[in-house]
């Protein structure tokens, strides 16, 4: 069993965990999502999901990555400056469908992987969950 308190130091993060709303949150700082996925693999954390948020106007999008460690839900928020982020599919097979769903719902590009349509059909435009219609 890996104790939560040792994880930030392993990741090179100086901020402590913040428990809020049923989740242990850690701000990833300069850590990339791929480095995070490798670290989660190393401690045998179980991938749960990614939640995408469309923020108020001009603030962009936020992705929250969730892993489970011995029944504790871990959360790592990533603010997206552009509509893209590195894919972790090659590091974590379980993200396949959720990366595809977020790509279709929020038109976010997960760099470094190919897509097949998941909820949409071939040729349909991604971004069906955005507030403004994507043309």
């Amino acid at each position: 069993m890996t104790s939560l308190e040792f994880i930030p130091a392993t990741l090179g993060i100086h901020e402590p965990w913040v428990e809020k709303g049923g989740v242990h949150w850690l701000q990833p700082g300069k850590l990339t999502v791929r480095e995070l996925a490798q670290a989660m693999n190393a401690i045998h954390a179980r991938f749960i999901t990614i939640t995408a948020y469309e923020l108020p106007k001009d603030e962009g999008l936020r992705l929250e990555y969730h892993w489970d460690l011995d029944g504790q839900l871990l959360g790592f928020p990533f603010q997206l400056a552009a509509k893209s982020i590195e894919s972790i599919y090659d590091l974590c097979e379980a993200v396949d469908w959720i990366e595809r769903e977020i790509h279709e719902g929020f038109a976010i590009d997960f760099v470094g992987r190919d897509y097949q349509p998941l909820l949409l059909r071939e040729g349909q435009t991604p971004g069906v969950n955005l507030r403004e219609e994507v043309k």
Binding site: G21, T49, D70, W97, I98, L118
Partner: protein
């Protein structure tokens, strides 16, 4: 010579619409590709236009089988944002209804599995058992599908006739022990259709992040009722059956044994059901700005809701639902590799898929 066989989206071997394209060499499946989205209703997006009362009714309709689990998970998340704690009696009633729902889901699944095996008599036996559970759920809630049991801060209805539930529990335990489990475990037909079929190895199950009975049948001992207890589960004694083989038979056995464990939980919850209020009494709620997350062990595995709210708003800013079938379904591709074409409907059914949940 390889050839592609499309199964679905509308096919007699599938319970709901989805599509599995299988590449076969002779009768053997060598690759497969899944397509979903035929039930996509945009429920998460729709939720943003519903107030805190309406959204509970909306999310209850994510799934026709585990409708109660969706409102339970949502209400727990909303309680996190309002600072409300349901009274003890409500926590016990939540456990009772959740376990009744697990019983009805697992007996339904056992019936469908029996039908796909060619066991029509067993199908009827399982559905007869399920009817007993449905009768109890209808007596409690007035409904057979959407029970409307959960509200923010508690439950809407009481358990007025615990003896009726106990009688049903006794009948199910007796029939499971007398008929269902012995036949599923000893019948030559059941063994030949299930043993060694649709194997998901322990390593692949962990890699795919599968949940619930599908995970436990591949040797992954994960169950949120133990790992992160909610409602009154911390006060219940029960086991989470785990099998190691990862085949259809293992998934069948895990669910059959879980039926017995659900009966055990129901007996305890009914015996210990505390007196008191059903809910906090609030009917207007002040939500804090932020996100709350709740996870629950549904019949098919872990459900997670992330609910975001802005203070002063009546509507959620965002609701994200991660359903168990969404986590389990990608593993079908690995289960059918090397399988005979004729076994693929049963292999798919063995994860007890729900596409209404998956597509939302």
């Amino acid at each position: 010579m390889s050839y592609k066989i499309p199964m679905g989206p509308y096919h007699p071997g599938l319970e709901e619409p989805y599509k599995l394209d299988m590449i076969c060499t002779g009768e053997t499946v060598t690759d497969a590709n899944l397509s979903i989205g035929f039930n996509f209703r945009g429920i998460e997006h729709l939720a943003e236009s519903r107030n805190y009362i309406q959204v509970i009714a909306l999310m209850e309709r994510v799934c026709g089988i585990c409708s109660n689990i969706h409102t339970l998970t949502l209400c727990q998340a909303m309680e996190g944002l309002t600072g409300l704690t349901p009274p003890p009696r409500a926590q016990y009633i939540r456990v009772i209804v959740a376990e009744l729902e697990r019983l009805h889901s697992h007996t339904l699944w056992a019936g469908i599995a029996a039908k796909l095996m060619g066991f029509k008599t067993m199908f009827m036996t399982c559905f007869e058992l399920r009817e007993k559970v449905m009768d109890v759920l209808q007596a409690i809630s007035g409904n057979r599908v959407n029970y409307s049991m959960n509200r923010i801060g508690g439950v809407n209805r009481d358990i007025e006739d615990p003896d009726a539930i106990l009688k049903m529990v006794e009948a199910i335990e007796a029939e499971m022990a007398r008929t269902v489990i012995p036949i599923f475990t000893t019948s030559r037909t059941a063994r030949s259709r299930c043993a060694g079929i649709g194997v998901l190895t322990h390593e692949k199950a962990a890699s795919c992040g599968v949940v619930g009975p599908t995970a436990r049948a591949s040797g992954l001992a994960q169950d949120l009722r133990h790992a992160a207890p909610y409602a009154a589960y911390a006060e219940m004694e029960f086991n989470s059956p785990v099998e190691q083989d990862g085949d259809v038979r293992a998934r069948l056995m895990v669910r059959a044994l879980e039926i017995m464990e659900s009966c055990r939980i129901l007996r305890q919850a009914l015996a210990k059901l505390p007196p008191g209020e059903l809910h906090t009494g609030d009917d207007k709620f002040n939500f804090m700005t932020g996100t709350a997350t709740s996870r629950v062990e549904a019949p098919r595995g872990e459900v997670m809701y992330s609910v975001s709210w802005k203070e002063g708003s009546r509507n959620p800013a965002r609701i994200h639902v991660r359903t168990p079938t969404f986590a389990n379904m990608p593993a079908i591709r690995w289960m059918v590799l090397g399988a005979r074409l004729a076994d693929t409907p049963l292999i798919q059914a063995s994860i007890d898929p729900c596409y209404s949940c998956t597509d939302r």
